[in-house]
Symmetry: C2
Subunit: 452 residues, 2 copies
């Protein structure tokens, strides 16, 4: 007689009800598989194999439930920090009329990478890769007063680029999720102040994400403007070459050096510089008046009082590659066979693994109760692998590879008269056997690292 | 000497820092304005005038900070109820290859309303108005087991339609936000069970939103399938004609009646039927195997055990017009000059209005403290109109028109030795003068209605 798990009703997240369609390649084929080579990056292969992300056509990806949970966590970190510096969240259309892109000169300069289509009125439209034109003409359409400044507007949404060769899964795709912030200030000094505040917020965001990053002097690309910095995850598949100092953290994108030899000493502290490849995950630009002049984005009241002469706004724009971070973090931290998330972004922080439902009556800890208690420590962040036909060993194998940072395993010793639960933290090689209450105390003691 | 408001630092949301660029048309011009007639719907005019929504080009709209807050509230209601019935949230790409639309026959049948473009490899792509093709080919790409069923996947995101004549602002735009749910079941009976559960969840969602709605038998449109129901907000600008019974709530979309005269008696209870126009805000479809057959979406294990013969999945699809609801709710509830939100979706539930900072020392209640206490009752849902140069009367005028449901006004009597605060609930014609603590008690007593 099979024992039906009595706890299934009360636990909120269960592996049996989580859509995670795995396409696992048997370990023996792993090294030689042709398919893997085509996918070209470790993160892309792992995220697809473990049913977290799914390509729907070349350069386009569906975020399945586990990826979507990571996305929500990342967005929360970004929203938290940007709200701290009075950024306001909005949503701009994905589509803009091509005429504003013509006005800025970027219809030509971005060129074939721009996705365009004709609407029913035969007007050319752009599927936006970024929104400087859209937001500047929007803000320029109103009368701003000096009292409304600084104005900081951002959104998080999908962007589009016609890639000749989409690569590395979410790292270089045709459609991707970006957080883009646009700032408006009353003069250079105020704009620099904003630049500093946003840079500080970016440092906080990247520190909270927890993947080692490097901030370097950047390339202005086709956005234009006067100053920029990039945030990179150092990684072998990165498309940028960085020169940086491990002592004082100064760094620069080598694209900026015409003479690639240059100096190999840090201009900040004289230490020897390192070279590494990086995946760009954030970018800050001081734009000056490039767009505000073109689109007439002005403010009044600089002379005191409410009215007065209109002056042109000083702008900045600030991007974070949201979907790219999900993949790049996995790229940097994972092994060949095991996904590793930064603790801030794991789809679930804790996975509870139960034994296969067998012929013997279950005598261990009350799983329902344990779930609830762990869920109190990690709110809405605990999944129970309740599948009845899988051994606890196989569950552990899968949970480890999916990259859940904390595994709570109810194994053989959980059936002891004095039950013990196992806690595993694979990324730190921690394996413990503890009485349930001691286990809960331990989880509580380490929980801060996983809460966002 | 001007007194600087001492409380500004500690309050989280302040009107002075909220981007709400108003384009108010003086009241005297209101009736005759040509501009208004062009905008064609009350909600669109009001939302634009009050700096909540901004058109960026015909049929495309930016959601400014206040609209974005309403959107978040609406999404939360939807997510809550769908999660209750084990729907899992994902994100599909906005772009699909045209070949899957060709395969389903909809490349032709949807025709010119479909936005298409060529990618860099000269392949035709579709900017999706809906995602049946995309999700069914995704799910069909994996081996589903009977143990994975029912499978319910949904997303909330932007959709695109090439409108010949975009109208009524967000109600009929080229780009709009939809919640789309797709369900997969092991047979007709299970699919009907899902249909019933989702229909119940929809009733809960629309009840929580709070705008009066009517569920009617629907038209299958170009989606195909065997059964459907629509959810409508009765409104004069609605594009559908509904026949419904106020007694037993039965209803039907007249598109279904070839003979528009038909019977005027309710088939359910015999009462006389009413006719009204409706704005469609939700739709449920039982799809059968229309898409699953085409895209080979199957499952195994129907015969018991893990393997066995593959069988075709029974599908359903379920939409909610998210951005449309924001506008349609305002359309239904507002007056000519005052926005009215359902209490569930107001950008902020409470607006605290302070007096102009004058030459006299401020002697009323501690605003900082009041904000904090009201914010404890309405968490993150209170805005302080802290603008120093605007009289409390003008602030009230604006807050009323923006549609904040509860106004807490610190007027002249707040300067009494025994201060009184005013509480106004314009939509219910409630105006009270109360001691601060009585005011807080009152707010607490009515708060449940505004919490989502």
């Amino acid at each position: 007689m099979r024992l039906t798990a009595p706890w299934r009703a009360r636990c909120r997240f269960k592996t049996s009800q989580m859509y995670q369609p795995k396409e696992l390649i048997p370990f023996t084929e792993l090294k030689s598989s042709k398919k893997i080579e085509e996918l070209t990056s470790r993160s892309s292969r792992l995220l697809i194999e473990y049913g977290i992300v799914k390509p729907t056509s070349p350069g386009y990806f569906a975020l399945l439930p586990l990826a979507f949970r990571s996305l929500i966590k990342l967005n929360k970190i970004i929203d938290d920090e940007l709200e701290q510096i009075n950024c306001q969240k909005i949503q701009l259309p994905h589509v803009s009329p091509a005429n504003i892109w013509n006005k800025s000169g970027r219809l030509k300069s971005v060129g074939t990478e721009l996705v365009k289509f004709k609407d029913r009125q035969d007007k050319e439209m752009v599927l936006c890769p970024t929104h400087e034109e859209c937001i500047t003409s929007l803000v320029g359409g109103y009368n701003l007063s000096i009292r409304d400044l600084p104005l900081r507007l951002y959104q998080t949404g999908s962007k589009f680029r016609a890639e000749m060769k989409p690569r590395f899964g979410l790292i270089r795709s045709n459609e991707f999720i970006m957080k883009d912030l646009y700032t408006f200030d009353k003069g250079c000094e105020a704009a620099l102040q904003t630049y500093q505040e946003v840079s500080d917020a970016y440092n906080k965001i990247f520190t909270r994400i927890g993947v080692p990053y490097q901030r370097v002097e950047g390339d202005n690309g086709n956005i234009g403007g006067t100053s920029s910095h990039e945030f990179h995850y150092p990684a072998g598949i990165g498309q940028d070459e960085l020169l940086w100092c491990s002592a004082c953290k100064w760094g620069k994108n080598i694209e900026l050096n015409n003479d690639k030899q240059g100096s190999d000493e840090c201009p900040g502290c004289g230490e020897k510089l390192k070279i590494s490849k990086g995946i760009e995950v954030g970018h800050t630009f001081l734009l000056g008046q490039k767009y505000s002049k073109i689109f007439g984005a002005q403010f009044t009241g600089a002379g005191g009082g409410g009215g007065g002469k209109a002056e042109t706004l000083e702008m900045g724009c600030y991007g974070i590659g949201v979907s790219r971070i999900l993949a790049a973090a996995v790229e940097v931290l994972s092994t060949e066979t095991e996904i590793r998330w930064p603790s801030s972004l794991s789809p679930f922080s804790v996975c509870i693994l139960t034994q296969k439902t067998g012929t013997k009556a279950y005598t261990g800890v009350d799983v329902d109760n344990l779930y609830e208690k762990i869920n109190n420590i990690f709110p809405n962040d605990v999944i129970l692998d309740d599948r009845e036909k899988l051994s606890v060993g196989k569950k552990q194998y899968e949970a480890d590879r999916t990259g859940y940072p904390i595994l709570v395993l109810l194994g053989r010793k959980n059936m002891n008269p004095d039950p013990l639960i196992e806690i595993h933290i694979p990324s730190e090689n921690i394996s413990l056997e503890l009485r349930p209450q001691d286990g809960l105390d331990y989880l509580k003691s380490i929980s801060a690292k996983y809460l966002i």
